[in-house]
């Protein structure tokens, strides 16, 4: 829990200030709270996991068919995303399953096929792989292979992903790249509480099976005033967070906040104006917003925690160069996790941190 504690202050990146006894790990960023549209009404201070709880609460309240389940969901979940829901809605609607990801997702698919709203939790994205057969061979193909006689569109699977400071190989992974390759599903990654609630509700209401990955380091560290009522944000639409003219920075999840810092530093250290895009949806991704931006700036930097080769950045890079070739001033750059398993004590050197991103921007400008 302490490792997930708020990282609200600026983190000093000066190597000399690291003491030998206490090292600071994990994605290094300041979380910039956002505000919700006033039209969405009354708000309440929530961190990201509370925003998730709120979305699930709205869902269970308004949709009698809806159920929420997974390992340890009943007592509130290991990340506290389901706290209070069992007591409020009953143990037939908010429940524990046996310890089997293939069982959780298979069961969830069938529950959705029967027409009921289904929100299944996988405890860590690192453990979603036993369910990959059910996801790749079943969920993504259900509607297509049955000529639309059957579908599991009312399914949403949630899982925490991403670096957390000490998670190492099996508590830090970003598996979105594997899922980007599955026509038939949707893959969504929020950057903060307001986004999280709106995007999760959109996933739950979406007619396709959705995979919703929550950056775990943001569960406690991201806090905003989130509307208490239900609202949806668009799936398949990226968002331009900062407008700029020299370089397009593309990221999603936690990396968006790292890139915010990068944009600020690029301006102050290099005099470079950066445009920042949060993809929000990995599949199907918003081509229009990306191409419009890169055609304008002429330079593109993609950053993600997942390893380089075959990562989602590769798809973005290929698509960008295909559609923006004549406008490019430099090759498309990716700053990503290395082609290694996610390491423990080397996390700071593994992640696509601010200095690595800034160095890439220098290369782009000087190309």
């Amino acid at each position: 829990c302490r490792s997930l504690a708020a990282r609200l202050g600026p983190v000093c990146l000066d190597a000399a200030s690291f003491s030998h006894r206490r090292l600071s790990f994990g994605p290094q960023f300041v979380y910039t709270p956002e505000s919700a549209d006033k039209s969405l009404g009354e708000t309440s201070r929530m961190n990201l996991f509370q925003a998730v709880t709120s979305a699930l609460d709205n869902t269970l309240a308004n949709d009698p068919s809806a159920v929420v389940f997974g390992e340890d969901v009943a007592f509130g979940g290991v990340f506290r995303c389901t706290v209070g829901l069992k007591d409020k809605y009953g143990k037939d609607r908010v429940f524990n399953t046996p310890l089997s990801e293939q069982g959780i997702v298979g069961f969830a698919i069938g529950h959705a096929v029967a027409g009921a709203t289904t929100v299944a939790e996988i405890q860590f994205g690192d453990y979603i792989f036993p369910a990959f057969d059910q996801i790749a061979n079943e969920a993504s193909k259900y509607r297509y292979r049955s000529g639309n006689h059957f579908n599991c569109g009312s399914l949403t699977v949630r899982a925490p992903i991403g670096a957390v400071g000490h998670g190492a190989l099996y508590h830090s992974q970003s598996p979105e790249g594997f899922f980007a390759h599955l026509p038939g599903i949707k893959v969504v990654i929020p950057r903060g509480p307001i986004q999280a609630k709106g995007l999760l509700l959109a996933c739950i209401n979406d007619p396709d099976p959705c995979f919703y990955f929550e950056p775990k380091i943001l569960y406690r560290s991201a806090v905003e005033d989130v509307p208490v009522n239900g609202y949806v944000l668009p799936i398949g639409k990226a968002e331009v967070l900062i407008e700029g003219s020299d370089v397009t920075l593309i990221g999603y999840g936690t990396q968006v906040h790292v890139l915010r810092e990068v944009a600020r530093l690029a301006q102050s250290e290099l005099g470079v104006s950066c445009e920042l895009i949060d993809m929000r949806t990995i599949l199907p991704f918003d081509e229009e917003t990306v191409y419009a931006s890169v055609c304008k700036t002429g330079r593109c930097l993609i950053a993600h925690e997942a390893p380089l080769t075959g990562g989602f950045g590769a798809e973005l890079a290929a698509s960008v160069q295909e559609h923006c070739f004549l406008n490019l001033e430099a090759p498309v750059r990716r700053v990503t996790g290395h082609d290694t398993p996610f390491p423990h004590i080397f996390e700071n050197f593994y992640l696509p941190n601010q200095r690595r991103c800034l160095a890439a921007i220098k290369d782009l400008i000087g190309y």
Binding site: T97, S100, I109, G110, S146, P284
Partner: protein, 434 residues
């Protein structure tokens, strides 16, 4: 009597019977009982490994023997009290058998790409006859009999095998991957056992809907080895799902005999291990099968829990048209089951002895069926394949722009290069906008 066998009789280990029939207990009053969470047995100073080979296997429930006679002492089967249903079940089994023969041959002739027969396992029709037509069925691939019993029209089987424009799957799947919303029969998918945890989940939804229906899940002896099978049984039991699991143990998974598939007492023994009421039945005895199915369905719905039926049978045909089973089993073995012990021949004997059937009726009925099947077959063969643009729909509920672009690029390519795609004349026109 059936209920007793549902809990299993395991002579040779006195503790086992208590283990299987003891109701869940609360905290014991004295400290001589194990207090571990979930414990419900007693302490012992006798060090005895449970040796599974010492068990006589779970018995096979059977009412009518291979000669078509009611077994001595067996009660009158429920199905036998309904002559019309008996004849309907029998004719459906014949129709399945004849359709299989014709479609199998059509693959050998290169007319369809692939086929799987149900030879030897037509008894599944009797199992389906005991279900509610709205019980949701998840199956493996050798359960066409269920769909046929539920009344899916002959031409729809063939349209699917031909992947033509009337195919319910829109030309997207290999033959025999049937599905029908109207008949509550979830579309077949090739991966094995994936349907099993899905069946548990659907049953959970049915329970919450209080719709008076159960879910039925078919799978084979080979599929039962998959991880999904174990997860399915465990989830169904722990979450109290009204799902009837039906295992077709036909002795083979392609070439792999059951002796290479498991070492325990088949699939039935696993049911009690997961906390599921279980029965093993002679899958070639339609009367036993009908009885068992009725009882299992009743149990599922009154107690809101899963049941497991292991139907013992024999796969008379090859695994599929891609298989030649003479490579791994003897002609002698095959001809025994073909002549003496399969659902059709055994029911025919019973019906004939009852005076409900004759050789003349057999001949006439088979001829009529064959004529009907061939007629539908000829129609299906003539139909065009779907518009190739249908390759792009139903991937997502609404086609995203990126996929639409791929569809338009494909359309333009095919229009520009039509002469290089002579097969297009067998498809509905590309220009038709869906």
């Amino acid at each position: 009597r059936l209920r007793q066998s549902l809990l299993g009789r395991l002579p040779g280990l006195s503790n086992a019977r208590r283990l299987l029939s003891a109701p869940p207990s609360g905290m014991p009053p004295d400290d001589e009982k194990p207090m571990f969470p979930g414990s419900r047995s007693s302490f012992t100073t006798q060090l005895d490994f449970i040796h599974p080979e010492n068990f006589e296997g779970i018995p096979v429930y059977r009412l009518v023997n291979r000669r078509g006679d009611l077994v001595d002492g067996a009660p009158e089967p429920t199905l036998a009290g309904n002559k019309d249903l008996c004849l309907q079940v029998y004719e459906t089994m014949l129709q399945l058998n004849i359709m299989d023969k014709i479609l199998y041959d059509s693959q050998r002739q290169g007319r369809i790409s692939f086929y799987m027969t149900s030879f030897g396992e037509e008894g599944i029709v009797a199992n389906a006859a005991a279900l509610n037509p709205n019980d949701l069925v998840f199956c493996q691939y050798r359960e066409s009999g269920v769909l046929m019993q539920r009344g899916m029209e002959l031409e729809r089987f063939m349209d699917q095998c031909y992947s033509n424009d009337s195919d319910m799957n829109r030309g997207r799947q290999m033959p025999v991957h049937y599905g029908s919303k109207d008949h509550s029969f979830v579309t077949v998918s090739s991966p094995l056992a994936t349907q099993m945890p899905q069946a548990s989940g659907a049953a959970y939804a049915f329970k919450r809907m209080q719709n008076g229906l159960c879910v039925v899940c078919y799978f084979g002896d080979g599929s039962a080895s998959e991880g999904d099978a174990h997860a399915a049984l465990n989830f169904a039991a722990t979450l109290d799902c009204p799902v009837m699991f039906v295992c077709r143990n036909n002795g083979y998974a392609i070439s792999t005999p059951t002796s290479d598939q498991y070492r325990g007492d088949g699939i039935a023994i696993r049911g009690p291990a997961f906390g599921i009421p279980t029965v093993r039945v002679d899958g070639n005895d339609v009367f036993a099968l009908y009885e068992v199915t009725q009882q299992a369905r009743q149990l599922c719905l009154t107690e809101m829990r899963p049941t497991l039926i292991e139907m013992m049978t024999y796969r008379l045909g090859h695994h599929s048209t891609s298989d030649d089973s003479s490579a791994y089993r003897s002609v002698d073995e095959l001809s025994f089951w073909d002549r003496e012990d399969n659902p059709i021949i055994r029911m025919r004997k019973f019906l004939t002895k009852r005076g409900w059937w004759s050789d003349e009726q057999e001949t006439a009925t088979k001829q009529a069926i064959r004529k009907r099947v061939l007629q539908k077959f000829a129609q299906a063969e003539k139909r065009l394949k779907p518009n190739p643009m249908e390759m792009f729909s139903d991937v997502w509920a609404r086609m995203p722009p990126r996929l639409r672009q791929q569809m338009e690029d494909t359309r333009r390519h095919l229009e520009a290069e039509t002469s290089h795609y002579p097969e297009l004349k067998n498809y509905k026109p590309i220009a038709d906008v869906e």
